[in-house]
Symmetry: C2
Subunit: 151 residues, 2 copies
DNA sequence: TATTGTTATACTCTATAACTATA
DNA sequence: TATAGTTATAGAGTATAACAATA
């Protein structure tokens, strides 16, 4: 997104001001730009990072289970996993109970890269906490998670 | 986004829980799905709706000024305006002060469609207020707008 | 020299249908 | 029949470079 330089004549936003959807999109753009730039130093995208976290936390889970938990279509998750496997960060092994599914696990390299990515995540969240204040930071996450579950 | 059906075995989210970026992305998906489906009944996308609002609020503004205010590259805004003009919702006229720029304005049809879209927007926000509570709804918007400006 | 609107291009994310192999 | 993974495809959104017309 291009940076919104506040020019001499600011634009009237009309009903966009106070709109949750519009505010969400703008905030999401700002936050993801910061985190994505940070993760890029490890050659990771945000979607790959979240996949690594879920596989780490749920070793042996199938592709479909992970993709559903991430809110990603299983069809669109194939390329993500293929890339992580090609880079030897994730291993897939056929399940013995159900030969249709793969069991996903991190390799030692995957664990290592994830721990470095987590440091970047912590630093990223710290920047947000510094900008927003710890109380408002926590409050914002609570409201967002509440919105995702009730709406 | 596929709906997150809470299965028998929920996945552990690890460091994704409490993460602002992840919470933002999930909430944004939920909210934009509802609003986009609503706007689709008028043949509008959210990006077109926001363009109509800004042109209505700032008649005579140029494409670049509107696109910058929306956080959209001017190159990517060309097709949006072209479609709105093709549908006779927006008119472009060369500026007399600066022949490089267009003055953007809504047509009577554009004003009419925008007013119907605004009703959908109000209904959409009402659904969110019902789900979240009026206080939390207002609080969320404040935090998001704060985040966009300070981060 | 700089800016506006434009074209071209490419990459990401997302959504859907259809196939295979297994169940 | 139903599900897991896969392929193919198409639509959005986004980012950058380069151009003609105008400033």
């Amino acid at each position: 997104m291009p940076s919104r330089k506040e020019t001499a004549r600011p634009m009237r936003l009309g009903s966009l001001a106070g709109d949750v959807g519009y505010a969400l999109k703008r905030a999401q753009a700002v936050v993801s730009a910061d985190f994505s730039a940070s993760l890029a130093t490890l050659g990771l995208r945000a979607s790959q990072f979240s996949a690594l976290v879920l596989i780490d936390q749920n070793p042996g889970a199938s592709q479909t289970r992970v993709s559903l938990a991430l809110g990603v279509e299983k069809a669109n998750f194939v390329a993500t996993i293929a890339d992580l496997e090609r880079r030897a960060l994730v291993v897939r092994s056929r399940s013995v109970e159900d030969a249709r599914t793969y069991r996903l696990e991190l390799t030692a390299q995957g664990v290592d890269l994830l721990s470095r990515a987590r440091e970047l995540q912590v630093a990223h969240e710290s920047r947000l906490t510094d900008s927003l204040g710890a109380g408002r930071h926590r409050q914002l996450v609570e409201l967002l998670e509440l919105l995702s579950t009730v709406a």
